[in-house]
């Protein structure tokens, strides 16, 4: 299928659609440019591996390197704790996203608003609708997804990818950040 069709066939995008992350350096540039990124991780990540390792390890590496606070939904928390990574918060995805639409909200640490939100691992259609909420109502927050399928409502998304390509991309993103 085309790289920029919504993964679920009927979740057609509107006039405003996500730009593509075709190479790791795009994502890295976006992350580096962000003043206050945040990452929202859903339970779907347990299903995926990146180059033989559980995807969560890749995300933890990323969060550590780029110093990104991680918000997890309920059942994902334990996965992180067991890897000695303390998420910044356990919150439902709609709740943290709703907060992001409030320009007055100063973040989990009360310092200043986030300007980049990275989503990964939510059920596709739930992530679709949540990203739609942010697209319309959080003009100051750019959004990115790390899922292996296209999410049209994000600011940036991977295209619909093979697991292999996607894993390579994700790995690249983390590795490049080290440099």
């Amino acid at each position: 299928m085309p790289m920029t069709d919504a993964w679920q066939t009927a979740e057609i995008a509107g006039p405003k659609k996500a730009s593509l992350i075709l190479k790791p350096d795009i994502a890295d540039a976006l992350i580096s440019r962000a003043k206050r990124p945040i990452m929202i991780v859903g339970h779907g990540i347990v299903e995926y591996e990146v180059n033989g390792k559980p995807m969560i390890e890749c995300l933890i590496a990323l969060a550590r390197k780029a110093v990104i606070p991680v918000v997890v939904s309920a059942s994902t928390n334990r996965e992180f704790l067991s890897r000695e990574f303390e998420p910044a918060a356990v919150m439902s995805a709609v709740e943290i996203s709703s907060r992001l639409t409030d320009p007055e909200w100063k973040g989990l640490d009360g310092k200043e608003p986030y300007d980049l939100a990275i989503f990964v691992g939510l059920p596709y259609s739930m992530e679709w609708t949540i990203l739609s909420g942010l697209k319309h109502f959080a003009p100051n927050v750019k959004t990115m997804t790390f899922d292996c399928v296209y999410q049209p409502n994000a600011s940036w998304s991977f295209p619909n990818s093979t697991i292999k390509d996607w894993a390579a991309n994700l790995k690249g993103i983390v590795e490049n950040l080290e440099d």
């Binding site: 299928m1 993964w7 679920q8 066939t9 009927a10 057609i12 995008a13 509107g14 006039p15 405003k16 859903g42 339970h43 939904s73 309920a74 059942s75 928390n77 334990r78 704790l81 918060a89 356990v90 439902s92 995805a93 709609v94 709740e95 996203s97 709703s98 907060r99 639409t101 939510l122 059920p123 596709y124 259609s125 739930m126 609708t129 949540i130 739609s132 909420g133 697209k135 319309h136 109502f137 003009p139």
Partner: protein, 783 residues
């Protein structure tokens, strides 16, 4: 509000024409003056009467809109792009448009229940007369119609008394629907207030429908020990002629039972059902069998087991005629709302219709007469059964493997699956003869059939899944407690105190449709979990079936494990969709019967009571329909939070509280009049959970109320913390917001909680006598 309903009485007339005394003429019966409770401030509220209350709730729970589409396509100026701050040709903004769509959906839902109520009421009045007494629980239920009393300020005694209630519903729905017209309401919050109003109307309609059918059709009357009924494909004796009824309006199905009984065929024919008609049929005749929720429709029809299919209204697959023709099962449509293009044979003699079916002259007929449906369906089932030989459309395992070889792994099936299930991979695996992948899908499959529509190879994908899972389907032998209807006043009196004080940690209602993220199992698991924790657990509709579709280690379903009483640890199946009114009704009755708050036309005060004191939570894990949207809205206006599954984000907005903003949580202390912090409870009014684990933790949290006593709050916190530890890991980060005094701390967790509180600079605060209504201050002692 019905303006024509008239009641007049004349004490004495002396005239040239006549002399008489004590003449009373009462029509419409709004005011049979046998109720001495004084009228409250808001009988038959109009669109804006309760707007201040709604605005109060909405200022705490601000909508978070998640547009399901960037466009508006409702008028021909459009489509209009509403992305971000763009406005439509009519000036509409995206928040208003989203809430407008929510209102439209809620109107459709409420209209559906109300028109169903009208069907039932008209049918029962025709059969039993307008003066037929309402009886939902004999002497055990004195407050027969809590929502009607609360909203309309009337006390119905007969079926006829329910008519003005529906007149009011129809009038209000017409106005509410008009609000969605191009160039009407412009404020999203006013749309939301109207959504709440629609929800309240919906609950009224549901109450009328269930009261009428419980009263007239002999359903269990508030019976905690209503009989158990068979549930599941495996319970059906396919060797007999089998009739399948689908939908929500039970009279045609009941007429089948009557006909079979009256003609001595009661034991010869299996009467089976899907969706609420099935539930209500078991209330009428407990030997009827429930196949399952709406998601079982395709798999059951394709099995070829049903010999005749009878559909009435709501949540019936619209392609039923295509499917019934595939298995050569005659189809009978019975509702004006669902004619399916079929010839109207209502006025034909039953004999002729039976003949037309058995000779194969017709494959379906519209029959708008329940009694005739009863006769025709029964006779056709007996007649076609020997001929049909249960011709289904399920292939053998070998055939499955052969067909699967056509799969190109194009992934269209998976991309069409609402739950993104690995369909393509399973089909591909089947091509090698290994059907385990398909078999595994069965339990999570919603039965929507979109995978088939999408398949470029035209594989009957859903059928392949069902074929692979043959053993599972035969194992489906469960049971459910038939719908009991209302809650008895005595039950309310017993549990009112423990609930209001927080000692029963909450009332959790699992309701609604079957659009589950992972199949039915999660509902059954959640029901068991909260019953074990001594919550009061209610079920209704498709969720009531799903709850019964699993067995514990001892082989028992939740209905066998737990009592059917409205008590701590009970699993209370109220009945079908429209029986949801009894769940709202129970909350209202706690305020009215236990706390003795005036009920009549006194919506705000009662809702304020329920909101601040009754720890009720609704869970619609698979909510799918417009009816579900309306039901939820009715709960919100009463101040009862609702949790939905991940698909619930498609309802286009959440109503989320902000625990981090203390100013949002101020309440009046009724004793002192002071504005005091009431705590972020209940934290949300409408929220979608991503997983069952998240939902369970949320249930425990949203059951808290500002009025909880220390003992009660400690109990609720103990459950909350325990669930969080088990399913999330660690202590919840917000316990310090939920502990008000040391008495709130669960004894068994004292050290941990103390440490947590210390970390958060916790300070003790008082437990208020909470109300959101300034007029309630000092106005009376609170129960």
């Amino acid at each position: 509000m019905s303006r024509k309903s008239v009641s007049f009485s004349i004490k004495e007339i002396n005239s040239d024409l006549a002399q008489f005394r004590d003449l009373t003429v009462s029509i419409g019966a709004i005011t049979r003056e046998r109720w001495d409770e004084p009228m409250g401030p808001s009988p038959f509220p109009s669109l804006t009467t309760l707007r201040p209350w709604d605005r109060r709730l909405l200022s705490r729970y601000k909508p978070f809109y998640m547009p399901f589409c960037d466009l508006c396509c409702l008028c021909t100026y459009g489509k209009c792009d509403l992305t971000g701050s763009k406005k439509g040709a009519c000036g509409i903004s995206m928040p208003a448009q989203q809430s407008r769509i929510v209102l439209l959906a809620a109107c459709v839902g409420a209209a559906t229940h109300t028109s169903h109520a009208r069907e039932i009421l008209t049918h029962t009045i025709e059969t039993f007369g307008r003066e037929c007494k309402i009886n939902v629980g004999g002497t055990g239920v004195e407050v027969e119609a809590p929502i009607t009393r609360l909203v309309c300020g009337i006390k119905p005694e007969t079926l006829g008394d329910l008519e003005p209630v529906l007149d009011y519903c129809e009038n209000q729905l017409t106005q509410l629907l008009a609000v969605t017209h191009t160039g009407q309401e412009g404020s999203s919050l006013d749309f939301e207030s109207k959504v709440f109003h629609t929800g309240m109307i919906d609950h009224l309609g549901m109450e009328v429908a269930d009261i009428a059918q419980v009263s007239a059709l002999g359903f269990p009357k508030a019976d905690p020990e209503s009989p158990l009924a068979d549930l599941g494909l495996g319970t059906i004796d396919a060797k007999k002629p089998v009739i399948l009824v689908i939908g929500h309006n039970v009279p045609p199905a009941a007429a089948i039972i009557d006909y079979l009984r009256d003609h001595g065929n009661a034991g010869d024919v299996e009467v089976t059902g899907i969706c609420c008609t099935a539930l209500d049929l078991t209330r009428y005749a407990p030997k009827a069998k429930v196949v399952g929720p709406i998601s079982w429709q395709l798999r059951y029809i394709r099995s070829g087991v049903p010999d005749v299919i009878v559909v009435d209204e709501q949540c019936i697959r619209t392609d039923t005629l295509t499917e019934s023709e595939k298995i050569h099962a005659p189809l009978i449509a019975t509702s004006e709302k669902n004619c399916l293009g079929l010839p109207d044979m209502t006025d034909e003699p039953a004999e002729a219709i039976v003949a037309a079916f058995t000779h194969g002259d017709i494959t379906g007929a519209l029959i708008l007469d329940a009694e005739k449906v009863g006769e025709v369906a029964s006779r056709v089932a007996l007649a076609v059964h020997p001929k049909r030989k249960k011709r289904g459309s399920i292939p053998t395992k070998h055939q499955v493997a052969e067909m699967a070889k056509k799969c190109t792994l194009c992934m269209q099936c998976r991309r069409a699956c609402p739950n993104d299930l690995p369909v393509a991979q399973a089909v591909k695996l089947a091509a090698s003869g290994n059907l385990s992948g398909l078999d595994e899908l069965y339990d999570e499959c919603l039965g929507c059939g979109r995978c088939e529509s999408a398949c470029k190879q035209k594989l009957p994908v859903h059928t392949l899944i069902v074929a692979a899972a043959e053993k599972q389907t035969l194992d489906e032998t469960y049971c459910l407690r038939t719908g009991r209807g209302a809650i008895q006043d005595i039950e309310i009196r017993k549990v009112g105190g423990p609930i209001v004080l927080g000692e029963i940690p909450g009332v959790v209602a699992f309701v609604g449709c079957a659009n589950f993220p992972k199949g039915s199992r999660e509902v059954a698991e959640m029901v068991a979990e909260f019953a074990k924790r001594r919550y009061i657990v209610c079920t209704s509709g498709c969720a009531a079936m799903s709850a019964g579709m699993y067995r514990n280690d001892e082989g028992k379903t939740v209905y066998e494990q737990f009592s059917g009483a409205f008590e701590a640890g009970g699993v209370v199946n109220v009945g079908s969709c429209v029986s949801n009114a009894h769940i709202a009704g129970a909350a209202i009755k706690i305020a009215s019967i236990f706390a003795k708050r005036p009920l009549r036309g006194n919506y705000e005060e009662i809702a304020d009571y329920v909101y601040n004191r009754v720890g009720a939570v609704g869970v619609a894990w698979g909510a799918m329909s417009q009816k579900a949207a309306a039901i939820a809205a009715g709960f919100w206006r009463l101040g009862i939070p609702v949790i939905v599954g991940p698909h619930g984000t498609k309802y286009r907005r959440m109503l989320l509280g902000r625990a981090d903003r203390d100013s949002d949580w101020m309440v009046h202390d009724a004793r002192t009049g002071e504005s005091v912090y009431g705590g972020p409870v209940p934290e949300h009014l409408f929220i979608a959970a991503e997983t069952k684990e998240e939902a369970m933790v949320l249930i425990a949290k949203l059951a808290m109320r500002p009025n909880d006593t220390g003992k009660g709050r400690a109990n609720k916190l103990a459950n909350y913390i325990d669930l969080h530890k088990r399913h999330v890991g660690g202590m919840p980060s917000d316990v310090y917001r939920l502990v008000r005094t040391p008495a709130d701390i669960p004894l068994t967790l004292k050290d941990e909680v103390d440490a947590h509180l210390a970390e958060h600079d916790w300070k003790e605060s008082a437990i208020p006598d909470p109300t959101l209504l300034s007029r309630m201050v000092h106005s009376r002692k609170v129960a």
